[in-house]
Symmetry: C2
DNA sequence: GCAATAGTGTCTGTTAGACAATATGAC
DNA sequence: GTCATATTGTCTAACAGACACTATTGC
């Protein structure tokens, strides 16, 4: 940034776009909204919004603040209900026919109990299966690229981060945690080997037993656990 | 991006800023330029530039194209001489006193033989040690944050990617490759264990022997190798 | 001979992957 | 009793870390 040369560069609109992900029914799902305005009217899109301008004494919004606000206003979830992480910035000059728009994309991981609270008021928003539905959908702008990047990143990160704990309720069973791994990876885990890795987290005091048991269907009830270490 | 509301968002300048890294003398170094204009005049900064506007039939520059151009014009290296990877986008509203500026930051890994070709014409640009010098320097804008993010990312990625091969010449010795790992990690490796990991790359046909030998000082000459698998 | 780096092999502990049997509760 | 899931243990292969010696050159 050696010189300020307003003639040689245009100023661009800056948007944040969110890949809001959750795991429901052992399936990775993304929250999409249907556009009701030009361009790409009636196509499904990632929820997003423009970074707010500063007015008066205000200096304008942080990128992270814009992402938080967008998650809040498009899903109705309170701040902090999802884990936001900056993903990648997309800026192809033709990506928005209205004019030069830079999209700073984020992943937002939402636990399923929070996701269930999102009021799907009409047919203009909803959850879609990343494995079954999304590959057949045409998304607005370059949102298909963004979504694929988000899924790839999540898939890579779940191996060596605590990200999976952002996709289960605050207390959970080993089976629920395994479902999250399997939904994100798209492949099955050996339940015994998974349990052994989980046991190491217990031994390392990353996870503790929570009161109660939980059982679905007519199976044996499972112990309930809570993640202790700080998220991240 | 549900609606286009020009009144509620400002248009921002979009810059690319580059953490140009190389390993020289077994030390991780970054290329910095000294600003000769307001703001932060005379402070050291990452090389950067604004994303070019479209004019006439041109639609304006891609973000990656802007990064390539900035690397070329600030270092004199031809396109393709460095490995560019998008890092993170910084957008604190007060990060540039001239007005709202979004910085899409990149790491550029340059092999040392290319880095040596960069003409350091005057005292307004040069290579600085990330371990010895950078921690004591005040950089322009939030470039210290960007540089730390670049170093952290490089340090994390070198463990499980082929990134190190972008920091050695096209043919190299095992010792040179080990120097790169040690410079990036900031810690020593056991030469025997490192050689064993390297041997696996040879067995997997990722690396092949190149003609000749290379020796520095009065030590035994080392075999010379070439990375076979495509970069990345 | 001395200094300096290149190059090789062993032992041990950790981890992942493959694999089967028993336990518990709903129905 | 049947069904469905929870829970536990063994064997093997791959890999990392610690560690010592010989080989080859310049001086």
């Amino acid at each position: 940034m050696s010189a300020y040369a307003p003639n040689t560069h245009e100023r661009a609109s800056v948007a944040v776009d969110l890949a809001v992900l959750t795991v429901m029914d052992a399936d990775l799902k993304v929250f999409l909204v249907r556009r009701n305005t030009h361009p790409f009217k009636n196509l499904w899109a990632l929820p997003g919004g423009f970074v707010q301008a500063g007015r008066g004494a205000h200096l304008g919004e942080d990128l992270a603040a814009a992402a938080r606000r967008t998650l809040r206003t498009t899903t109705g979830l309170p701040n902090g209900a999802g884990r936001l992480a900056q993903l990648q910035t997309f800026g192809r000059s033709e990506r928005d026919p209205r004019g030069r728009t830079i999209s700073v994309s984020w992943t937002a991981l939402v636990p399923p109990d929070r996701a269930a609270l999102i009021q799907v008021t009409d047919a203009r928003e909803g959850w879609f299966s990343c494995a079954e539905e999304v590959p057949w959908m045409r998304l607005a702008f370059d949102h298909a690229d963004i979504l694929h990047a988000a899924i790839d990143r999540t898939r890579a990160d779940i191996e060596y981060t605590n990200l999976a704990f952002s996709l289960v309720p605050s207390t959970f069973t080993v089976g629920e945690l395994r479902d999250v791994h399997e939904a994100v990876k798209g492949s099955k885990h050996d339940a015994r080997n998974f349990r052994r890795r989980f046991q190491r987290l217990v031994d390392d005091d990353k996870v503790e037993e929570a009161p109660g048991r939980r059982h679905l269907g007519r199976a044996r009830p499972a112990k309930v656990w809570r993640f202790k270490a700080g998220l991240q």
